[in-house]
């Protein structure tokens, strides 16, 4: 297991959002600013690593007939942990992400990795899988959010970079902008992949 090729797998070849089309809902909803995008990405990554490790460790105990309820219980527990911790220590981010934190439970990426990877592989490689997939998700969110925040608000990470004369393109921080940003990033990635 080569960490570099694993990382490349998470960010590019099997990028959950921009290649597999998983987790589009939070990617659309929480990418209106880079800060929110990173917050969502880190929260989901934490849940993904924890659930991958626990599910992998218990993969021989969990009977396949009840594996989905078992996975969901484990994932939901970690999501609730993130929710509580964030409410207690990062209240602003918690307020900005709102309903999308509890909804990490139904994020396809997490159940998808549990089913496709962690339930079949050893603990260490499942942890690595969680890390690279989480990084891929975060990178995708930051990419989408950068486009939206720069064009739609003239700022990056909350810092105004285009000067006060810039008139922001409101469409980009409104919901349609999320669809446009994802679509054009996806098209760009496909174009690059096709040329290789």
């Amino acid at each position: 297991m080569n960490p570099v090729s694993e990382l490349k797998r998470g960010i590019w070849t099997e990028n959950a959002v921009l290649k597999l089309g998983l987790g589009l809902c939070p990617a659309l909803a929480t990418s209106s600013s880079v800060e929110n995008g990173i917050g969502m990405g880190v929260a989901a990554t934490f849940v993904l690593i924890c659930s991958n490790v626990v599910i992998s460790a218990m993969r021989k105990i969990i009977p396949s007939k009840v594996r989905i309820p078992a996975f969901i219980v484990i994932i939901a527990s970690f999501v609730t942990v993130v929710d509580l911790v964030m409410a207690g220590f990062l209240p602003d981010l918690h307020k900005a992400l709102g309903i999308f934190i509890p909804l990490i439970v139904v994020n396809c990426i997490i159940l998808g990795r549990a089913e496709a990877y962690a339930s079949k592989n050893a603990v260490l490689s499942s942890a690595v899988d969680g890390i690279v997939m989480g990084i891929g998700f975060t990178v995708a969110l930051v990419a989408i959010a950068s486009v939206r925040e720069i064009l739609g608000n003239g700022s990056f990470f909350g810092i105004n970079i285009l000067g006060s004369g810039f008139i922001p393109m409101l469409l980009m921080i409104l919901p349609p902008g999320a669809f446009l940003a994802i679509a054009f990033l996806l098209a760009g990635m496909n174009q690059v992949s096709a040329e290789k």
Binding site: S32, M58, I61, I62, P63, K65, V66, P69, A70, V73, I74, A76, S77, T80, V81, L84, V85, A87, G88, F89, P91, G152, N153, P168, L170, I173, L174
Partner: protein, 196 residues
């Protein structure tokens, strides 16, 4: 029968493990979360009240301010700021039901003589870059020192004294109207609010 009880047992164990984890996390975060909630209220109170040296969130009085759609009484909490024992201002939450998208919650601070000491927007879902500009400092500051006696509580477009926002009249109109109603209630019930 044996199979199903084995499945049930394993699921129960997983769920119990989750419950244990959540109980521990909840216990650890209970204090910080309560603290954060209090800080949010205190922050808004501090922003709108004239200088005070008590804890306004603990010096409150609740009054019936209206009826909800079912005919039940609606209570509003009035927070009193005191400077060396004497009431220096009162803050309370007013809700503008007629925002552009949903209702807007506003914290209004009033000096005992009926002048507005400050306004904070607590909650809204207005369009980013347009209606959301009601959160801007310069827009909120125009209310300072205004009372029912020295200002016409309508936006300029409707013939009043308060700035609307270019291309977004509905949100400012809703906020101005809500503050006016709050001021009127204060004027009519001043003794109860300050003295009670």
């Amino acid at each position: 029968m044996k199979e199903i009880s084995r499945l049930a047992l394993i699921l129960t164990l997983i769920t119990a493990g989750s419950a244990l984890l959540l109980a521990m996390v909840e216990k650890a975060t209970r204090e910080p979360i309560a603290q954060q909630r209090r800080l949010v209220t205190l922050g808004a109170l501090k922003a709108v009240l004239p200088p005070a040296n008590n804890s306004p969130d603990q010096d409150t009085v609740s009054l019936v301010t209206g009826k909800d759609s079912k005919g039940n009484d609606e209570q509003t909490t009035f927070y009193r700021g005191r400077k060396d024992g004497a009431v220096s201002g009162v803050a309370f939450r007013v809700v503008a039901p007629d925002g552009y998208s949903g209702s807007i919650a506003v914290m209004v601070g009033i000096e005992p003589n009926g002048q507005v000491s400050g306004v904070a927007i607590l909650q809204h879902a207005e369009t980013p870059g347009l209606g959301a500009l009601i959160e801007g400092e310069s827009w909120k500051n125009q209310f300072k020192g205004k009372s029912l006696d020295n200002a016409d509580w309508r936006v300029k477009k409707d013939g009043g004294h308060f700035d609307q926002i270019t291309a977004a009249t509905i949100s400012p109109r809703a906020v101005v109207g809500a503050i006016r109603k709050g001021l009127e209630f204060y004027k009519a019930n001043k003794d109860q609010i300050i003295g009670g």
